[in-house]
Point group: none
DNA sequence: TATGAATGAGGGTTCATTCAT
DNA sequence: GATGAATGAACCCTCATTCAT
């Protein structure tokens, strides 16, 4: 239950990588030197904490998943509606509280399924545990949404999840393009679209 | 207006690359030798037709965009509802008529925005032209949908496009995972979810 | 029974490595680039023929063993005394017919026993076969020597082999020092010492 | 004349390195961390006493040479035959009194001549002095052997030295292979072969 | 025209050395 | 004094690109 604690250098590496990923670069195009520079540490130092470049990715993803799960857990204690929670999430992403929004794709289609499966080589158990934690929260949130009348009770958890992931996937994609099709404050427009898509798709 | 015609070797290269991308591999992880092998031609031959590995990608994307635009154009001549057209599209993707469905992410969030912008190095004009063709079709389709009562007239083109791209992005992502959260025929379940998401998000 | 045939590039690599080893450098101190340069080919080319730096060593050793076994086989057909054969061997080494004499240590104490055992990873069978061929020749030569009255019949094959390896080991070691303790033509003095050591140790 | 005295940490480093070398590993394959671990001290501490990895080797060699010269000097005071002294030496090596026998190659062909020359960077004078001491003892021992009728008077010091070095080189090499060609107590067999080779080669 | 052998720039990784504690 | 975390030069190896055939 207790999350692993990370050394400052490890966290620097995580943040460095996420920052680079936020630039839209694929992991294959990110050099170890880039991560080191972004983290403000020496290249060799990375290998004191990680066994390989792949390991950096896998640990970064686990770290982020854990941060995200912790954040969700905390949100769940507040008595808020599903859509309020969604707004909090959009704000948190934008403020890069636990993840630069632009790094989202790294957790989605950016990774091949194989890579996502391999994610855990070193962390398989922790990752599995965290995934299950997140799934459990998800189930609770959807259940609450159905009770509140926010989510159409006829919709399956599977569809709800697909809706949300798609909306965020599109969000990150649009966000990356900065301007998108709409001209004034792009961030707000994007957020509104995410909110609207999810609302329309899930409301009774 | 006239699409460039491609030699058999070029088409072999396109199909080879799309086939590899369909495996979920990112372009950076695909070797030139892999493309040559998948295309059934020699590695050196690729360089007779393309100036670089990047060029292969950019030409493949243009080729696919053109194929897609041609397909849409053809569909538009038929008097079908927007949702029928959507079904045709889902079938076409599944039958890999112009694009292995799993290669879709390569055209979406898989590519950084920078890469998408660079797409055209060699093909900028052609690509721009084709994008505009597609946008024009899109506008016509959305307009038709609003007239038919299939699309809520209060929704902007921007939101409609975002909805459709998100749904397909999620589709490709789920498709790549083969099984997904739902057990029986995954392809049908996926298609139903795409259809349902778009319908619920756009209907009046 | 048929030795593998080698491409010109492979042979160039073998000769390049032996030439470097002849300089007395240990394998760990020889860079892949050094081998490539000594062989007169590109660094990348080496990896078209060998899977790793270790593989270059292991193949070079097998090649040399085979060359040596072939040479011995050929010598055995001539009706010469054991000491004449010894002289031929000393000459052949000096003329680098199959091995620069200074590279001899590479086949002796230069390599740890573990390395010698691992020698064959890729070539284990071929190496074993060649070692056995050499052992068989050795037995025949010692037997002939005993019949000729050149070798004391009371001496075991084991002691004879130890004597010869020690003498050549010392030879290579002295040879490497070029001058050694004796001033005029060092090569001849060395050769005479090898001959004398073996003769005195083995004669009846 | 007075040997340098060494601190306990220096001696720990010497012993650590010799122990590792006894495993048959070449100096290039031994990491500084390995030496530190084998010596039971911190890696940084090594650099308090030695200027570089090379320096550790060079000092270890000088240390061992001095230990050896002291041992020989002590043996010379005893009135024993050359062959008795040889036996004492074989026993001492086996009991690792001043040098693990398996580390012998490091002092022989294991090192390129260049390395042996460079040995003294920091210790050139001390090393030269010790070498000369050893040479002087050697001369006295050979002279005594000739007087005793143990060594053929017609043999030069040069040949005698070559014989002994070769025999020990072969000894170390065989020793490293543990089993060798002879099955029962390998150590005894090896020692017997050394003794026999030297005896047969040098006796009148 | 089509090819793949050859290449070397560039990447991931190791490890001798330094230096703050 | 003793340490080991931090470092980056230098290594092995990959792979996009070229070019002789």
């Amino acid at each position: 239950m207790q999350n692993k604690t990370y050394s400052p250098k490890e966290i620097a590496a995580f943040r460095g990588l996420l920052q680079l990923a936020a630039g839209g670069r694929h992991f294959s195009n990110i050099k170890v030197q880039d991560i080191a520079t972004a983290a403000g540490i020496g290249k060799g130092t990375l290998y004191e904490y990680f066994s390989s470049k792949e390991d950096i990715l896998s640990c970064t993803m686990l770290y982020t998943l854990q941060q995200f799960a912790d954040w969700i857990e905390q949100q769940m204690t507040r008595e808020q509606s599903v859509y309020d929670m969604l707004d909090s999430l959009l704000d948190a992403l934008e403020q890069e509280i636990f993840l630069p929004v632009s790094a989202l794709p790294m957790f989605g289609s950016f990774l091949s399924h194989e890579q996502q499966v391999e994610l855990g080589m070193r962390n398989r158990e922790k990752a599995q545990e965290t995934f299950e934690r997140l799934h459990e929260y998800e189930r609770q949130i959807f259940a609450r949404g159905r009770q509140n009348g926010e989510i159409d009770p006829s919709l399956s958890d599977c569809f709800c999840e697909y809706t949300i992931l798609s909306a965020f996937g599109g969000f990150a994609s649009q966000f990356g393009k900065k301007a998108g099709c709409c001209s004034d404050n792009p961030s707000n427009v994007c957020k509104n679209m995410v909110r609207q898509l999810i609302f329309r798709a899930l409301c009774p």
